[in-house]
């Protein structure tokens, strides 16, 4: 099929990520944007750009009709949905199909099946793929029904949004007294994130690892995986750091083999086409369970790109064009190790509360093995309308040790000024003995990690900090004195404020 002009129905780092590959392929790129995104990089990097509407997602990036209309009006051949927003909305994929526009992703039918987490679980059970025990076979449960089911499943358990993804609308419940308010919270969050307040229950598997497989499937029946990603570093089901490959599976190659085959089988069970991800939980006894399938490009796809050399967005477009995958399963080679840190505008010292404001300085690291995917720049404003992801730091090393040390080095260099970021979280995490040993599961961040504890272990420099603070206090006094007494005194009262500054005055 001919694809010459692609509309990227997204914003932020992922819109830019997709835009980059499109431009490298010589495609004409079309951006869409909300009022507050007029100056965003995805608008500026595109050949064309059209306004969707006001800032709130429901008025802009979730407006199916408007996006389809723009596509029709401007001769768009294909739409790339990115992740989040409409990417896993089967009605949207259907609307594209109906309008004769190629949807760069799976069929609306595959999205529908996998997008409704309950239907997905049933489909997997039929295909003989293990799932986490829960409320399978029962849909649209009321609060009362959920409470009854919960007692059967037992605690701890998880409430999950049927339309879910990305940890939104998800809540852990440890005892039945917490259940009711947790259901309410999960429903509210799900409604706001996906426009659907259906939830279901799953047994909470403790000390599990979250490991996922990247799938690619073309229209010619070729379905392969590109190896796994270890995503157990999470907080409230939000991934914070991912690695490829998984340290655990490196020591359990038969398990990796089996999980990879199962992932491919799961994708085939829904006649999956394009890129997708099968998420598994692995328990302490090496049992693994299908968790869900993300029927879209994943936030953490770059670490797979780093260890395989494959541009996953390029493959998505190949597939959408009806071509064969560029590699076969046998040709797949995993080369080295990659780590992604999600840099969020969140205050790790204050309950990970989001931070909004203008980024006055974004000094990103670079050098060997370092990739940054971001939509921010100096003077960029983080607004409360969209998710708090500032950038993704993706680091490659020839071994896991090198990747970790390189990540540590890169984090040291990274400076973000104007808003509060979670860089200190990553800096503390990366130096934890358990992390370095690869000895962690998906409870690690919530249960075994705290900023204070992490900092207790490491070498600190309170004396140096005291000097910094005292000199800053002195400087502020001098600066104000200087403004007040500018006429009376020369610049010599700046004597503490830097030799170089004086030289260049």
């Amino acid at each position: 099929m001919t694809i010459k002009k692609v509309l990227i129905a997204n914003r932020g780092e992922i819109a830019i990520r997709i835009n980059r590959t499109c431009r490298e392929l010589g495609l004409v790129t079309v951006a869409v944007f909300s009022d507050v995104d007029r100056r965003a990089l995805h608008v500026r990097y595109s050949d064309e750009a059209y306004l969707l509407g006001p800032a709130p997602s429901k008025d802009s990036y979730l407006n199916i009709e408007r996006i389809i209309q723009i596509s029709k009006d401007h001769g768009v051949d294909a739409i790339h949905p990115g992740y989040g927003f409409l990417s896993e909305n089967f009605e949207y994929a259907k609307a594209c199909e109906d309008a004769g526009i190629i949807f760069i992703g799976p069929s609306s039918e595959a999205i529908r099946i996998m997008g409704d987490k309950e239907t997905a679980r049933e489909t997997m059970i039929k295909a003989g793929i293990p799932v986490v025990p829960g409320t399978e076979g029962k849909s649209n449960l009321s609060d009362a029904e959920l409470i009854t089911e919960a007692e059967k499943i037992g605690f701890p358990l998880l409430i999950k949004a049927s339309a879910g993804g990305g940890g939104k609308g998800m809540r852990k419940v440890y005892k039945s007294s917490e259940l009711k308010s947790a259901i309410k919270l999960a429903r509210t969050e799900s409604q706001s994130a996906f426009g659907d307040n259906n939830v279901y229950l799953e047994k909470l598997i403790l000390n599990a690892r979250h490991i996922e497989f990247q799938i690619l499937a073309d229209q010619h029946g070729n379905t392969i995986h590109l190896g796994e990603r270890e995503c157990s570093i999470q907080r409230r089901h939000q991934k914070l750091l991912e690695e490829a490959p998984s340290h655990y599976l490196n020591n359990h190659p038969e398990l990796r083999q089996k999980m990879g085959e199962t992932a491919v089988r799961a994708a085939k069970a829904v006649n999956y086409e394009n890129a997708g991800t099968i998420e598994f939980l692995v328990d302490k006894e090496d049992n693994f369970y299908f968790l869900e399938m993300n029927t879209r490009l994943q936030v953490e796809h770059p670490i797979t790109e780093a260890v395989t050399g494959i541009d996953i967005v390029e493959e998505q477009i190949r597939i959408a064009r009806g071509r064969q995958l560029s590699i076969t399963q046998d040709e797949l080679q995993i080369n080295g190790w990659a780590i992604e840190c999600r840099i969020n505008s969140e205050d790790a010292y204050n309950n990970f509360l989001p931070s909004v404001g203008v980024i006055t300085e974004h000094a990103a690291p670079s050098g060997p093995g370092v990739r940054i995917d971001t939509g921010v720049y100096n003077s960029y404003e983080i607004t409360p309308y969209y998710d708090p992801l500032i950038s993704k730091l993706i680091v490659w090393g020839k071994s896991r040790a090198q990747a970790i040390l390189r990540t540590r080095r890169a984090l040291e260099e990274y400076k973000i000024v104007g808003i509060v970021s979670n860089l200190p979280f990553h800096q503390n995490l990366i130096s934890q003995t358990r992390f370095m040993a690869g000895n962690y599961d998906s409870q690690f961040v919530e249960e075994r990690f705290s900023m204070r504890k992490a900092e207790e272990g490491k070498e600190t420099y309170p004396e140096i900090a005291a000097i910094f603070a005292a000199l800053s206090a002195y400087r502020r006094t001098e600066l104000s004195a200087h403004i007040i007494r500018r006429a009376e005194r020369d610049t010599s009262n700046w004597k503490w404020i830097g030799r170089w500054e004086r030289l260049h005055r």
């Binding site: 997602s57 939104k168 308010s181 309410k184 919270l185 509210t188 969050e189 706001s192 994130a193 205050d347 010292y349 204050n350 309950n351 509360l353 989001p354 931070s355 909004v356 006055t360 300085e361 409360p384 309308y385 969209y386 998710d387 708090p388 984090l411 040291e412 400076k415 000024v417 860089l423 200190p424 990553h426 800096q427 503390n428 900092e455 490491k458 600190t460 420099y461 309170p462 004396e463 140096i464 900090a465 005291a466 000097i467 910094f468 603070a469 005292a470 000199l471 800053s472 206090a473 002195y474 400087r475 502020r476 004597k495 503490w496 404020i497 830097g498 030799r499 170089w500 500054e501």
Partner: protein, 170 residues
């Protein structure tokens, strides 16, 4: 100039002797302190060792020093201020009124408490929806709710005072 700098309850007397020389708890250091690019990033050479920090000024003599991934909260007062505050008598810690402000624009989706309710430190006071997340806002100190200035469903601005917590009456 002499500064009394307190970090994690440890006191450091930082004395500015002459340009390029400071004394910390009576040990002398050669320092070279420079700002970089007007962005509150500072570089410090101290006896040749190189440090970089992002420094922001908080309220009431509090300086936040972010260095090598660790945040130091430094209370800095100069000698004169210290004498003045000592003369005025100490403020008893933890006995002040706490104003829960909105850390960002958002919508209040849940207020599980009522005026008069007693709260402990780290209790959840309300849920604020922002950036597509339900954020639990907690109180850093114990007390009782003396005022709730918003209602469920309200949109709030950044820094808007939402709930007031008074210290417990002993």
């Amino acid at each position: 100039m002499k500064y009394i700098t307190t970090i994690d309850e440890q006191e450091y007397i930082v004395e500015l002797i002459e340009p390029g020389v400071v004394k910390v708890n009576d040990v002398e250091y050669f320092v070279d302190f420079e700002e970089v690019g007007g962005q509150n990033i500072f570089t410090l050479l101290i006896n040749g060792e190189s440090f970089e920090a992002h420094i922001s000024e908080g309220e009431a003599n509090l300086w936040k020093v972010l260095m090598q991934g660790t945040l130091y909260e430094a209370d800095v007062i100069d000698e004169r201020e210290k004498r003045l505050s000592e003369a005025a008598g100490h403020v008893v810690k933890g006995s002040s009124i706490y104003m829960l402000r909105s850390p960002m624009p958002g919508m209040v989706t849940n207020i599980p408490l009522n005026v008069g309710d007693v709260v402990e430190a780290e209790d959840v006071i309300l849920i604020l929806e922002s950036m597509k997340m339900q954020n639990e806002l907690k109180t850093p100190q114990a007390g009782y709710i003396s005022e709730i200035r918003i209602a469920e469903g309200d949109n709030v601005e950044q820094n808007q005072i939402m709930v007031v917590i008074n210290p417990k009456e002993d």
